[in-house]
């Protein structure tokens, strides 16, 4: 199993009343699987993804990702873990505006233990169909192209697990399926496990394995109560 969790709880410290946003009894993902997690906005999907990426600490319970137990792991260790094992794609691309497409991809290698390899960055951009946009800055690219750069960047550190947070939400409907298929194909080619969260019902049909987030997040109290 590449992801395995037991009695996972994420609690936000909000003064006198701590807010429990995640409470999942048991869940797991096999290596190489492609999983879509579906749920309405505010249900805690992104929080769950952030926890898997080590961006949030585990409050209670047990969470093992890529063979590393994240509970009790220091923030600096989680940073290292993320740099080495995780690729992350954001809903709003989050590309560095002052950097070219090629430099954005190189940035994905910078903080991992790997040496930055411009040739590999070029190859990744070629793989997502952007070999003609290497020197372009994000502001000069379409939203579909920007998300492709984000995909290439997420793969730059050769991650074992690719986490995608609503990767198609900001895209034009015409581009959604293209980007999603690209993401799934590229994960297949790179032997990378894919976990994607989405609130778009129309995209989950592409996945063999789908989880409805409400099924297992016992902390979810409705559209407002579960909002983190």
């Amino acid at each position: 199993m590449i992801i395995e969790l037991d009695s996972l709880e994420i609690v936000f410290d909000r003064g006198k009343e701590p807010l429990k946003v995640l409470d999942i009894s048991h869940w797991g993902v096999e290596e190489g699987e492609q999983v879509a997690i579906f749920g309405p906005s505010g249900s805690g999907k992104s929080t769950f993804l952030h926890t898997l990426a080590g961006l949030l600490p585990v409050s209670r319970g047990r969470l093992t990702v890529c063979g590393h137990a994240l509970e009790g792991m220091s923030e600096a260790k989680r940073d290292q873990f993320r740099a080495q094992y995780i690729g992350y794609i954001f809903q709003n691309f989050n590309l560095l505006q002052g950097f070219t497409a090629l430099e954005n991809v190189l940035m994905g290698m910078t903080f991992s233990l790997r040496k930055s390899d411009p040739e590999e960055a070029r190859r990744l951009l070629d793989e997502v169909g952007l070999s003609h946009r290497l020197r372009y800055h994000p502001s000069h690219m379409s939203s579909g192209e920007q998300q492709r750069v984000a995909v290439a960047r997420a793969l730059a550190n050769r991650p074992k697990l690719l986490l995608a947070d609503e990767p198609t939400a900001s895209l034009h409907p015409v581009n959604k399926e293209d980007v999603l298929r690209l993401l799934m194909d590229i994960c297949d080619r790179h032997g990378c496990t894919l976990v994607m969260v989405t609130h778009e019902r129309e995209v989950i049909g592409l996945f063999e394995k789908t989880v409805t987030f409400l099924e297992f997040n016992r902390a979810y109290q409705g559209p407002l109560g579960g909002k983190a």
């Binding site: 505010g42 995780i86 930055s116 909002k227």
Partner: protein, 416 residues
């Protein structure tokens, strides 16, 4: 992509505010460098030379003016003294050496002083150092040996491109537009090696040449023949030493005796120069205070421009964190930016400061005759790089800590 490449990219991305911060630092540093250089150079100039002359025999008038004229070739001598009186002083038992001179002529903006030949051969302009014409050290020729021969100081020769055998007509006065002794051609026979003193910026002719110059009143010509009528501007006096190298204490009695006379006085440069230093020191302190305030303001400007840039950089830094950068790394990025801006400002300031010295030196030379060197390295020059590095570290510290504390998620994607 290396750490420093990311820093440079980020600097480029905020180039406008970063350039302003660097320029403001450069301005403060330039002023500091220039003021300190002028301070040190003027201090060196106005303290070193007095060492060669224990006292100056001159006319009544401002002692400071006499020192500035006799030692630094500035200002005018306030009058003249009788040759016969000079001879009396020369015979005093505590006087080791007395060199008479006449000032009031110039050539190409440099003073032409008529002086006793012993000045070039026996006079020690600094303890143990006499003038030299050694070609190996940059000198040429020989001392003057007859009338209408001249010797140029090293700087004067360099500035006027003087060659041996070249002739010139001295100007009767030291101001622009003063009349020229058209019929008197004086030949350069020697160029002194550099001494690092104002003597480098003067031209020397024999004392007797002064009395023979065409165009002077008849009385001046008579002075050449009849000693009782002869006048000079003043004389450098060396006092005998007592055991241990100190001046003979009799100098105070001699000074008292001479100062009782109606027309003469004995000026001791070591007593007069502190007054000049007080005047210069006060101006120095004001200028240094302005420069320090400017530098502090520029450090504050750096601090606020970094804080402002940090607001724009929050998303980028949060993204670095999301990609695996540690808190220390993002703090390092911000501090490194501050360090580079500050160092660039420092290097620019150093260059600009020396350029200012060069420009200022030109005008000061024209106006006062005091020479300053743009290439002179003052104490502050050696402190600029470590100082600006420290400034950058301090200026970048608070923005760096803010970057360290930056939350990743609140600066990135919305929560769903």
């Amino acid at each position: 992509m290396s750490f420093w490449r990311i820093v440079l990219k980020s600097l480029k991305h905020h180039r406008f505010s970063n350039s302003l911060a660097a320029i403001s630092i450069a301005t403060g540093i330039a002023l500091l460098v220039a003021v300190y250089s002028f301070k040190e150079q003027s201090h060196n100039t106005f303290t070193q030379v007095g060492l060669g002359v224990d006292a100056i025999l001159g006319p009544k008038g401002s002692p400071l003016q006499i020192v500035l004229n006799a030692l630094y070739h500035l200002e005018d001598m306030p009058g003249k003294i009788k040759w016969t009186y000079f001879k009396e002083v020369e015979k005093e038992r505590i006087v080791a050496q007395a060199i008479p001179f006449v000032v009031g002529h110039s050539y190409g903006g440099f003073r032409v002083n008529a002086i006793d030949g012993k000045f070039l051969t026996e006079f020690e302009y600094l303890p143990g150092k006499t003038f030299s014409f050694s070609e190996e050290e940059g000198g040429q020729g020989r001392p003057f040996s007859k009338s209408h021969e001249a010797v140029a100081g090293w700087e004067a020769a360099k500035q006027l491109n003087i060659k041996l055998g070249q002739t010139f007509n001295p100007v009767c006065g030291v101001q622009e537009g003063d009349p020229v002794h058209e019929k008197d051609k004086i030949t350069f026979v020697g160029i002194l090696t550099p001494t690092g003193t104002p003597h480098d910026r003067a031209i020397y002719i024999p004392l007797e040449t002064f009395y023979g110059l065409e165009g002077h009143p008849l009385e001046t010509a008579i002075m050449a023949e009849q000693e009782e009528y002869r006048e000079i501007s003043g004389a450098y006096i060396k006092i005998k030493r007592i055991r241990g190298g100190a001046l003979h204490p009799g100098i105070q009695d001699l000074k008292f005796a001479i100062n009782q006379s109606d027309r003469n006085q004995l000026v001791v440069p070591a007593e007069v120069m502190p007054r000049l230093h007080n005047i210069i020191g006060w101006i120095d302190r004001v200028l240094i205070a302005i420069a320090v305030i400017l530098t502090v303001l520029s450090a504050l400007f750096l601090f606020f421009s970094l804080l402002s840039a940090l607001r724009e950089m929050r998303r980028d830094l949060a993204l670095f964190r999301a990609l695996g950068a540690t808190r220390k790394t993002v703090m390092g990025l911000v501090v490194a930016e501050a360090l580079i801006i500050s160092l660039v400002g420092g290097i620019l300031g150093l260059t600009l400061g020396h350029w200012l010295i060069g420009m200022g030196a030109h005008f000061i030379k024209v106006e006062t005759g005091v020479g300053f060197t743009a290439g002179y390295m003052s104490m502050i020059d050696w402190l600029v790089i470590p100082g600006t590095a420290l400034l950058g570290l301090l200026g970048g510290l608070v923005p760096g800590i803010q970057a360290y504390r930056l939350g990743v998620l609140e600066n990135l994607s919305p929560i769903s």
